[in-house]
């Protein structure tokens, strides 16, 4: 449980003792985080498409409608700009809305509200207005979704100043980071890797993992720094296993926060290994990996023995279910990429 080693618990000892570590899925951890945030702070409200009685198409809000009633969580009309726009108004009145976009590509109708208002309101008002809003977006592929259900939209959000963009890769982080996102006074785009929703860990809830803006070294290594986030963290760990078998020591970093980027943690690792690669599902051109490669190279150029590699989706629209396996980066593809370096 390398991931858990990095965590400290903020729970009082008594409370901690009363709990036993159980298997929690990433989706379940998100549900728990929502429940605990809603219980703790009456300003937290949840709305979106199908988040009420149905509990969301991924069941992340399962049971919350019953528990909190329809003044705290409700089904909105079907319109994403409407969801984000009204959340902005609510936040201006002191609420802390957590809204759901049903799938990645269905956040696009809200693009103007997010980029022109959500991201800018604090700035344009010289700090007078804060918008503590969390936009939950299930994203990425790997679940055999038909078109428009597997986009990785992170590059759009991370290029937009004013937004904080985070993505958990495991249940404990899912819980802790969502709670932190809801508590943040900055608007947060909370990207949920849908292919990981059902993956489980033994976690005692509530759990507090390191601050969401910090990247974590999940696996130490000496030869290569492999940067991953969200759905590709698992792939990166697999690649590290595969590499180990071949005698290659791969250090795996889970970014957790895409904006801000943790220059310190990644920089330190790269100075150690002198080689780095980044893996993500989104297409490569202008993808998030470009920023990682560019900024790490800027800062660590003279420590680098080779160019930073990007192992990513191709520069094509996300493929149909039966073809997505050819598009999505795999551990094998990571290893093959590392092979292209002169060692």
């Amino acid at each position: 449980m390398t991931i858990l080693e990095n965590r400290r618990s903020a729970m009082p000892a008594a409370q901690e003792a009363a709990q036993t570590a159980t298997q929690v899925s990433l989706a379940g951890a998100l549900t728990a985080a929502l429940r605990d945030s809603m219980a703790e702070d009456s300003r937290v409200v949840v709305f979106g498409e199908d988040v009420g009685p149905l509990g969301g198409v991924f069941r992340v809000t399962d049971g919350l409608a019953k528990e909190f009633g329809d003044t705290r969580i409700w089904d909105s009309p079907l319109a994403e700009a409407g969801i984000v726009g009204t959340a902005i108004g609510m936040a201006m009145y002191g609420m802390r809305p957590v809204v759901e976009m049903q799938f990645d590509a269905f956040s696009y109708p809200a693009f103007e509200q997010i980029t022109s208002h959500l991201a800018k309101m604090h700035n344009r008002s010289k700090g007078a207005v804060t918008l503590p809003i969390v936009i939950r977006i299930p994203y990425a592929g790997g679940i055999g979704g038909v078109e428009h259900h597997s986009d990785s939209s992170e590059a759009y959000w991370t290029h937009t100043p004013g937004l904080t963009v985070v993505t958990p890769s495991n249940p404990a982080d899912a819980y802790s980071m969502l709670r932190e996102a809801i508590a943040s006074d900055d608007p947060v785009i909370f990207l949920e890797p849908k292919s990981r929703y059902w993956s489980k860990d033994a976690v005692e809830l509530p759990v507090v993992t390191p601050p969401m803006t910090r990247a974590l070294v999940l696996r130490e290594g000496t030869d290569v720094t492999l940067v991953a986030y969200g759905p590709t963290v698992k792939t990166a760990l697999q690649a590290a296993d595969l590499g180990a078998a071949e005698g290659l020591s791969i250090e795996v970093i889970d970014l957790r926060s895409l904006s801000p980027f943790d220059d310190e943690t990644v920089g330190a690792s790269v100075r150690k290994t002198s080689r780095a690669a980044i893996i993500h599902e989104a297409s490569q051109f202008g993808g998030y990996g470009a920023e990682v490669a560019a900024r790490v190279t800027e800062r660590q150029f003279f420590h680098l023995a080779a160019p930073i590699l990007r192992i990513t989706g191709f520069d094509i629209p996300f493929p149909s279910p039966k073809l997505e396996e050819y598009h999505l980066p795999t551990a094998e593809r990571v290893l093959a990429a590392l092979d292209t370096w002169e060692w």
Partner: protein, 373 residues
Amino acid sequence: MSDRVATREEPVRPTLLPISLIDGAGVAVNGKRTAGFARPDDQLLLGLYRKMVVARRFDIQVSALTRQGRLATYPSALGQEACEISAVAALAEGDWLFPTYRDTVALVSRGVTPAEALTLFRGDWHLGFDPGHYRIAPQSTPLATQALHAVGLATAAKLKGDDTVALTFLGDGSTSEGDAHEAFNFAAVWQAPVVFLVQNNQYAISVPVAKQTHARTFADKAIGYGMPGYFVDGNDAAAMFAVISASVERARAGGGPTLIEGLTYRVEAHTNSDDPTRYRGKAEETTWRGLDPIARLETYLTKAGILTAGVAADITAEAEALASATRDSMSESPVLDPLELFDHVYVNDRPALLEQRAFLERELAATEAGGHR
């Protein structure tokens, strides 16, 4: 502006009760509830009935295949056949249809083969047929977006002087999207030959209509765009066909767009991965099964003496043939070429994309040779 008010005739206002020509018990309706629409003749109704039966058989077959894992997902239109089939039947050959994911039966009714139509949900590619060939746009998933495409296409046809009409399906939930509004508005301002058919099947996944609109009917929305609106019993194929054809023909004649609400019910789950027990009761489902669009037409046509045992057997045979063809077409997967992923991103070649294609080609070769993947 007062000119505008004074000179423009008020468009037809939607009725408060759905327009009805054959009621739930299969009895012909007369008087006010018809809103002046005449019942299509019995032969035409028999044709609709045949297509509805075939469509339902297809729908049931596909749901079954989905449960067997042969499709990635399938949004059933069971119970909505009066809307689906009347729309297709009301269009002329040169007209265009803009369907959603819900409307696969309409595609098949218009001639798309099961294998072509199910390519999307089988997960082989995003689209399995040539839109230009069938004059059917790709089934749209981003809600309400296709309504704008329909308006654009219809406007282009009008500008060219063609008499092409476009009909687009929309769900009740989709009417909440900004794109639906923009489509209604552009169509009305440009007097585009478009018919908007809102299939009010009462749910947007789990969300009931009461959480979607405060209007009394979706047809009422037409007023705010200055176009005619009709509120129709969406399980009454006679009424749906009468209203849709009248609207299509008015559009063709230069009379502009129409908004039609067909009041129907999504009998099945949203898709196979949905669980309706979480948000609606059995009683409601039972009520609506009792208002079935096929059953009532069957009663009516049987009483009219036109649906004989012989005809019924013939229809069943046709439906079974389609079901069987559907099963066959889904029994083996087509060979997919992963390299085609790169072939239709752009019309114009891109060196960098060709490099990526070459990469995958090498990877695939290595795999065959026992390499990495």
